[in-house]
């Protein structure tokens, strides 16, 4: 699927793992967000671990740091930046170091540091911690060097000597100190004697060039010599100590020294390629900064434990998740796209073992909302579709994931349901082809018929013929990642379309529109709404408005729900609104509509692969819409209505005589949808005077209570499956008899599924009590004799060992 490079490129577009502003501004990469989370929980020991881990000279730095983090904190305009500096100080005063000094074997390379400024000391800290033998050469005492520059170190809160503490730790880590005269002779000697040398640009200024003469991306000056820690300047040109910058440079230069001695690239992968973290702050209420009870003479805020918890609690715990907040599917998997990209990639790389991310890949509705919402346009749809295509190509797609939906597609495009009908009055070279889509045909046969008649009447008057085609558009194959099947399907549609004289296509379904535009690029395909909007629809409305039943029940305001497949289709979005207005429906756009609309759960075949995820999506969407819904796609309408929310289809407000479609009614079940398609085809065909062969009667007369059928359809058992199972069991006499109540139990395996039916036989028919199914092959069931099945499987029954292919 994705190779490592494209995975990286893909991943890097999701910035959820990028550091929040505070951390990005911290030269020591302190994980401020986690630090504040622990402080807010009152776990100061845990918070202290982070200070110990990230900060060189933690005491000195915490006391001196000019806290650039606070300048960029996202809380700044929402009550004031979080007091990171003050909280770090509080943590340091209240806790002891959590770090144990583990004796490490000394490394081979010897490091020299010249000058005990902040940069020199920070570098010494980092290198000594990693067990490099470090010698720090300094002029005068270390204390004096620092105290001249940072007199505030003299007074530390609680009377602690911060400097002595850190120097003590350095000594325990075996850093050595040597008093010398700093001059060029020294530098020459050290450069030869040591593997690498760092010059502190503040405390050893005589040896160090101007900052502009040193490469900022490495801080390497020449040969094995680095420089770091230049003081800044005030606008008036006075030297200005910038502790965080100086110590930060010291750390950066130390990293260069390590790379230098290890002979690895000084620049490779030093800065991560990832965009800045975006955090949505709309709706967050400002909370004022906590004023601590004690402030020292030199203005240092001292938070007590309670105050620290309150102040740390103001941290927004910045993260992105802009897309995840809107997508029920991503919430279900408890991660975010960057993580998902990695999981999908690892999943594809597994040769032996469980593919734990299969359900992640098959749970996405491919709706594209995330790509629209994400500031970096990360597309989960692209990721998951590519992963599905890859799984299909390698033959590792779980067969049960999409099989049922693909069978439905086959049925909707097969002999029972497919219809290509020329315009009866203008049969040659029709200008238009109406392609209502198999789901509209399944759900709203009468409306399809009425709309088709109106289109013909209206367009015929302009001298334009309108043909009709009933078929599935092939989108299920595309969503299932079955590229070849999609192409084959398109080839068939293409042939029929060509035979009809290459008419322009009108469709009422947003998925069809997408599929046809992609798979049949030679054809011009439009939404029927767009064309209707350009026609005079008064004749249609006159009739429909006379239908008082519909209009009496029409809600005063609808929430408009746009189908996800039409999110970028400006013509669709505009025309459905125009048509609703013309029909006197009042619609309101929810915050997420048009380009940012959410999926009803039909997209991507989630309804088939993971119906619970799909239902969560429908419920999530319905909850976002305050009024009864007006949908322009039939699957959106049926799925949102099934979630329990009143939902109308656009045709319900446009077409006369359709009052029976109240917005509260759920759509037809899966069995009825199939039957409806076939029946619409027959009715349309019969009108042309064609002789329509009798429908084959069902294989047996089976009574199924509607409630039971609804339950069975949830397990993907259709009415026809139950009927043929009963008929099959009876024909082969393969059934069991319940001695207590006389029920029969039979099974039938018409395809990759064995259906079981529990029924009773009465005069002239059967009654079904229950049904279930499985995919495993069980010899002696499904209508086949046990010994035949076992022979066909030719398998050692060794309790789970894989058969040799």
């Amino acid at each position: 699927m994705l190779d490592q490079d494209s995975l990286r490129a893909f991943e890097s577009r999701c910035t959820q793992e990028s550091p929040p502003r505070c951390r990005a501004a911290c030269p020591f990469d302190l994980d401020c967000r986690t630090f504040l989370a622990r402080m807010a929980e009152g776990k100061q020991d845990e918070a202290r671990k982070l200070l110990d881990r990230h900060l060189p000279l933690p005491h000195v730095l915490v006391r001196l740091c000019d806290h650039p983090c606070e300048n960029t904190c996202l809380r700044r305009d929402l009550g004031g930046s979080v007091a990171l500096h003050g909280l770090e100080l509080a943590c340091l005063l209240n806790t002891d170091s959590q770090e144990r000094l583990l004796p490490l074997p000394p490394k081979r390379y010897r490091m020299a540091i010249v000058g005990a400024g902040l940069a020199g000391l920070a570098a010494a800290w980092d290198l000594a911690r990693k067990a490099y033998p470090v010698v720090l050469f300094h002029e005068g005492s270390i204390e004096d060097t620092l105290l001249i520059r940072f007199p505030q170190l003299r007074q530390c809160p609680s009377g602690k000597d911060f400097l002595a503490q850190d120097i003590g730790t350095l000594t325990r880590r075996k850093a050595r100190f040597q008093r010398v005269d700093i001059d060029n002779g020294l530098l020459e000697r050290l450069a030869a004697e040591f593997d690498s040398v760092l010059l502190d640009a503040d405390a050893a200024a005589v040896l160090v060039p101007e900052e502009s003469r040193v490469d900022a991306s490495t801080l390497l000056w020449k040969d094995n010599i680095c420089c770091a820690g230049w003081p800044g300047h005030t606008p008036t040109g006075h030297p200005l100590a910038l502790p965080s910058r100086q110590a930060g440079q010291g750390r950066y230069a130390a990293q260069t020294m390590e790379r230098l001695v290890a002979h690895i690239s000084l620049t490779a992968e030093r800065t991560k390629v990832q965009g800045p973290l975006r955090t949505e702050v709309s709706g967050i209420t400002p909370v004022q900064r906590v004023e601590p009870g004690v402030i020292t003479q030199d203005g240092e805020e001292l938070f007590n434990s309670q105050e620290a918890v309150a102040e740390a609690g103001r941290c927004l715990q910045c993260e992105c998740l802009i897309c995840v907040r809107q997508c029920a599917y991503m919430q279900k998997f408890k991660g975010y796209p960057r993580l998902y990209a990695r999981q999908a990639h690892n999943n594809a790389a597994i040769v032996k073992g469980l593919h734990t991310a299969n359900s992640l890949v098959n749970g996405c509705a491919l709706c594209g909302q995330c790509a629209e919402l994400c500031p970096e346009n990360f597309s989960m749809a692209e990721l998951c579709l590519a992963a599905r295509e890859d799984m299909v190509a390698r033959g590792v797609m779980p067969p049960s994931a999409h099989e049922f939906a693909l069978e439905d597609m086959e049925n909707a495009s097969g002999p029972e349901c497919f219809l290509a009908l020329p315009d009866p009055d203008m049969p040659d070279r029709p200008a238009w082809l109406f392609f209502p889509g198999c789901q509209l045909a399944a759900s709203r046969g009468e409306q399809v018929k009425t709309l088709y008649d109106w289109l013909r009447a209206t367009l015929n008057a302009k001298g334009l013929g309108v043909a009709l085609m009933l078929s599935c558009c092939g989108m299920p194959a595309r969503w299932a990642g079955r590229q070849r099947l999609f192409q084959e399907h398109m080839k068939r549609l293409h042939d029929s379309w060509k035979e009809m004289g290459r008419p322009r296509i009108l469709t009422a379904c947003a998925s069809c529109l997408t599929a046809l535009r992609e798979g049949l690029p030679e054809a011009e395909t439009f939404s029927v709404w767009e064309i209707m909007d350009g026609l005079d629809i008064t004749s249609l409305l006159a009739e429909s408005q006379a239908n008082t039943a519909t209009f009496a029940s029409m809600p005063p305001v609808f929430s408009m729900h746009d189908p996800c497949n039409a999110r970028y289709d400006a013509a669709w979005l505009a025309s459905v609104r125009n048509l609703a207005r013309k029909a006197d429906a009042v619609v309101e756009d929810p915050p997420l509509s048009g380009a940012t609309t959410a999926c009803c759960g039909y997209g991507g075949l989630v309804w088939c692969a993971q119906s619970d995820t799909a239902d969560a999506m429908a419920a999530h969407r319905a909850a976002q819409l305050p009024h009864p819904i007006l949908a322009s796609c039939i699957m959106c309408r049926d799925r949102l209505a099934a979630s329990g929310k009143e939902c109308w289809h656009l045709l319900d407000v446009l077409l006369p005589g359709m009052a029976q479609h109240s917005g509260n009614e759920p759509g037809p079940g899966l069995s009825a949808r199939r039957a409806n398609r076939a029946s619409l085809r027959r009715r349309l065909l019969a009108r042309t005077g064609a002789i329509v062969p009798e429908i084959a009667p069902p294989p047996c007369n089976l009574r199924i209570p509607q409630q039971l059928l609804t339950k069975l359809e949830k397990r993907h058992i259709l009415l026809t499956d139950a009927e043929s199972a009963v008929a099959g069991a009876e024909a082969t006499s393969q059934w069991f008899e319940n001695m207590d109540n006389g029920h029969r139990l039979g099974s039938w395996r018409p395809r990759n599924v064995t259906f079981w039916v529990e029924y009773s036989k009465e005069d002239g028919g059967y009654t079904l009590y229950d049904a279930w199914c499985h995919r495993m092959i069980v010899p002696g069931s499904g209508g086949q004799e046990a010994h035949e099945v076992i022979a066909a499987q030719q398998c050692c029954t060794d309790g789970g060992r894989r058969k040799q292919p």
């Binding site: 073992g353 469980l354 593919h355 734990t356 299969n358 779980p398 067969p399 049960s400 994931a401 397990r715 006499s733 393969q734 059934w735 069991f736 008899e737 319940n738 001695m739 207590d740 109540n741 029920h743 029969r744 139990l745 099974s747 064995t754 079981w756 229950d770 279930w772 199914c773 499985h774 995919r775 495993m776 092959i777 069980v778 010899p779 002696g780 069931s781 004799e785 046990a786 010994h787 076992i790 499987q793 398998c795 050692c796 029954t797 060794d798 309790g799 789970g800 060992r801 894989r802 058969k803 292919p805």
Partner: protein
């Protein structure tokens, strides 16, 4: 992964409609995606007609099917 070996009918006393014989718990090999397992199912001792109870089909069997599909 294994199917716990023995599954009786969910309820009732069943007999084979063809042979009129009561069912016995008999070892049957079952197959899915290149794997095979042995389970004890209610079975006609004469003709081999085998019964898969609903609790097995919708429980353990579905679980194992999913597991094998993800393998």
């Amino acid at each position: 992964m294994s199917l716990a070996p023995n599954y009786g009918p969910d309820q009732g006393t069943w007999r084979c409609g063809r042979c009129q014989l009561p069912l016995e718990q008999i070892k049957v090999p079952v197959f899915y995606l290149n794997s095979a397992f042995d389970v004890f199912l209610p079975r006609c001792p004469q003709c081999g007609l085998s019964l898969v109870p609903k609790s097995l089909a919708e429980g353990k069997m579905r679980e194992v099917e999913a597991l094998l599909e993800d393998k």
